[in-house]
């Protein structure tokens, strides 16, 4: 069970809004991504590709039990150990058990949002195991003592100067802020860890039911390292991250990488089919896959079922105007951006994440770009309804109940407008309102408001009605 981040979205967003350089860094990254994404889909029928992706995901998730069972059976024939963890605690417990069984002291990790979800790193730390994040962005975030700020680019919020300072402080080095030099340095540091590690832990992009295989995509090569050098490989998998067969991967992989806005396919697509076979000269002796529920099953068959189609590409983050301003930390949850605003309330509960569906202007950019056509903005609206039912303040309920009554017919609507026109008089200066009491103060603190017009449209219409055709 992960710690609930302190405060509200508004408070955390305030920190982000006041962080110099953050919006610029995010904006630069997102504009770059937008260009890459357009190029990646160029020359193809994007709606058709996305429709096929949607159909594949819908079919697979609707038959999830069947495909998970096939995956586990086929993986077992290859020697892979597949376990099903209903809760985060079960998943952590299993990983710790495997580590204990092997006397593991050093773990190298590829990027895994599931590992964040279950709070794996702190648990390993408490058990005296050294855990090193090997994805460069994750490594940076780990050194900074932070959580990822983006689903696919965890350190998107950091400047080169900040990375330089982190590396210099952590390693007593004297590096410049040149990204190539910093990367070379990280390569050297992490190479030692890869070679010495007892266990490699990665995520899973897609499991393949047909053969009990699974794929991991990276550009850096850290998944190759984690799945090849240590004696033991543990893969953590959200239970919905599966395709029926390799055939579906021929579409889902390009769809994933195009939407995550890489150029073409990632540098590496690793296919793990099992532990090393007897005649192979290297590779892990053991491969474990932990399939995690952790609240996902409750989403199946619900109004929000389609969110289980998500392939964690991050495309919605890359177009969100709110994310653009404040980045992932403002969401205070493992999953951030638009997908996070839907997933976090569903997985972590309304107490922890109930304000996230309102952290959106409902601009629909996320739905517009989702490669599997999840109607994210409709999910946000539906969640707002569910959240209002259980958590709306009495003031809000009262306000909307009365608004519904007064504006439920034109006569009381007109009267309420007339009253408001009188009521506003003390506030109006030169047809504008610059200061107003709560709740209007939430507008006027930073913006002027127009005064209610002297004659409403309907009053003017009534006056000139005789004029029309």
């Amino acid at each position: 069970m992960r710690d609930v981040s302190a405060g509200t979205f508004e408070q955390r967003a305030h920190v982000g809004l006041q962080t110099p350089g953050l919006a610029a860094a995010l904006g630069r990254a997102m504009d770059h991504r937008a260009v890459q994404r357009t190029q990646a889909f160029a020359g193809t029928d994007e709606p058709a590709v996305r429709a096929a992706g949607e159909a594949i995901r819908a079919h697979t998730v609707a038959n999830l039990d069947h495909y998970l069972e096939r995956f586990a059976e086929n993986a077992a024939t290859r020697g892979t150990k597949v376990v099903f963890a209903t809760t985060a605690a079960e998943a952590v417990e299993y990983v710790l058990r495997v580590l204990r069984d092997h006397g593991a002291e050093l773990v190298v990790k590829g990027k895994s949002m599931v590992s964040e979800e279950i709070g794996l790193n702190p648990a390993l730390g408490s058990a005296g195991v050294e855990v090193i994040e090997t994805d460069l962005g994750e490594y940076i975030v780990q050194l900074a003592g932070e959580t990822p700020a983006h689903i696919t680019t965890p350190a998107v919020h950091k400047t080169r100067g900040q990375v330089r300072d982190l590396f210099n402080r952590a390693h007593g080095a004297d590096l410049s802020d040149d990204p190539a030099e910093l990367t070379r340095f990280a390569r050297g540091v992490l190479r030692e860890k890869f070679l010495a590690a007892d266990v490699g832990i990665t995520g899973v992009n897609f499991a393949v039911a047909e053969t009990g295989s699974f794929t991991i995509v990276t550009n850096e090569g850290n998944a190759r390292m984690c799945t090849s050098l240590p004696r033991v490989h543990i893969a953590l998998m959200g239970m919905e991250r599966i395709v029926p067969s390799f055939r579906e991967l021929s579409l889902m992989l390009p769809l994933l990488t195009a939407s995550a806005a890489g150029l073409g396919v990632t540098a590496y697509v690793t296919f793990v089919n099992g532990p090393r076979q007897p005649e192979e000269p290297d590779g892990p002796e053991e491969v474990h896959v932990v399939v995690l529920d952790n609240g996902r099953s409750a989403i199946l068959g619900s109004e929000f079922h389609s969110v289980m189609h998500c392939i964690r590409c991050g495309a919605c983050l890359n177009v969100c105007p709110v994310f653009r301003r404040v980045g992932g930390h403002a969401y205070g949850a493992v999953y951030c951006g638009p997908i996070g605003a839907v997933l976090a309330p569903l997985l972590d509960g309304f107490n922890a994440a109930g304000d996230l569906p309102h952290a959106s202007s409902l601009c629909v950019a996320c739905t517009e770009v989702c490669p599997v056509n999840i109607p994210l903005h409709e999910c946000l609206l539906g969640l707002r309804r569910e959240i209002a039912r259980s958590r709306a303040t009495r003031g809000e309920r009262f306000a909307f109940a009365w608004w519904g009554r007064l504006w439920g017919n034109a006569r009381t609507y007109r009267w309420s407008a007339r009253l408001a026109r009188i009521g506003q008089l003390p506030l109006v200066r030169r047809r504008r309102i610059r200061r107003a009491p709560f709740p209007l103060s939430r507008w006027t603190s930073a913006r002027d408001m127009p005064a209610l017009a002297r004659g409403s449209f309907r009053e003017r219409w009534k006056r000139t009605e005789g004029r029309g055709p």
Binding site: F9, P321, V322, S361, F400, D448
Partner: protein, 261 residues
């Protein structure tokens, strides 16, 4: 006065009913007036069924669908029997077209809601796609930049009708800002739930607009324009947010400075 090209007839309705929206009715009535003037100028009779109050979007967006239905029903009543409904708001039109059917599903108004959704148009799409207006003859000397309001763009799939209408106006220079499709931060209730965020988003949009050197920021939704105008005014930014309908009406000489001539 007519456009210089006769509009190509595409199922042109005999009469149009105006869905004015509560924001326009109470705060920006000139936008409603401009809408009526433009339609009549094109030879389309317009009426205004005054039983309408509000589409209910603020309540729906806050998670109160029951309350949303109460006001939304006034539209179902007002527009019963209307041949075509036109609104100078992408956001309110999208509420009717996209959200009324699910909102009223399972109620006795289910059919009425679907019927109304099928007959409701945003102003620029009505002018271009239904009336077939190719070009608006008129003059308005200004450098103008366009803001694509989100719901019109992404729920109604508006695709440049507004810019098309501006293209033929003498003296009007249209320059694009860096990201015209990016949300301005109004988002209805969002603008008061997360005011600091909404304001930051407005600043981003105003910065982009100012960078074009434009005098006028044109859009199809008064919510966005009110939000941007309010911020511009507070910061002393010399940029005039204007509704497309008002600009077109002024360009055609039907209005002067937002007042009916």
């Amino acid at each position: 006065m007519r456009s210089s090209d006769e509009p190509k007839t595409v199922q042109r309705p005999a009469r149009v009913s105006l869905f004015v929206t509560c924001l326009v009715d109470l705060l920006f009535p000139e936008v409603g007036e401009a809408t009526v003037l433009l339609l009549r100028d094109l030879g389309v009779p317009v009426d205004f069924p005054d039983a309408q109050t509000c589409c209910g979007q603020p309540a729906l967006n806050s998670g109160f669908p029951d309350e949303a239905r109460r006001t939304a029903r006034t539209l179902l009543d007002a527009f019963e029997g209307a041949e075509a409904v036109v609104s100078p708001s992408g956001s309110c039109t999208a509420m009717v077209r996209e959200h009324f059917p699910p909102l009223f599903q399972g109620t006795r108004d289910e059919t009425r809601a679907r019927d109304l959704a099928a007959r409701t148009y945003e102003l620029s799409e009505f002018l271009v796609d239904v009336l077939g207006v190719d070009r608006v003859a008129g003059s308005y000397a200004a450098r103008v930049t366009y803001h694509d309001s989100c719901h019109g763009l992404r729920e109604l799939h508006l695709s440049g009708q507004g810019r098309k209408l501006l293209a033929g106006i003498d003296g009007l220079e249209l320059v694009e800002m860096a990201r015209p499709e990016q949300c301005c931060g109004f988002g209805g209730t969002f603008s008061v739930r997360l005011p600091e965020m909404a304001t930051a988003m407005a600043d981003d949009k105003l910065e982009q607009a100012s960078a074009t050197g434009a005098d006028v920021l044109v859009g199809g939704d008064t919510g966005c324009l009110m939000h941007l105008a309010g911020r511009a005014s507070r910061k002393g930014i010399h940029l005039r947010p204007m509704h497309l309908a008002v600009l077109l009406a002024e360009a055609r000489g039907l209005m002067l400075s937002g007042t009916v001539r």
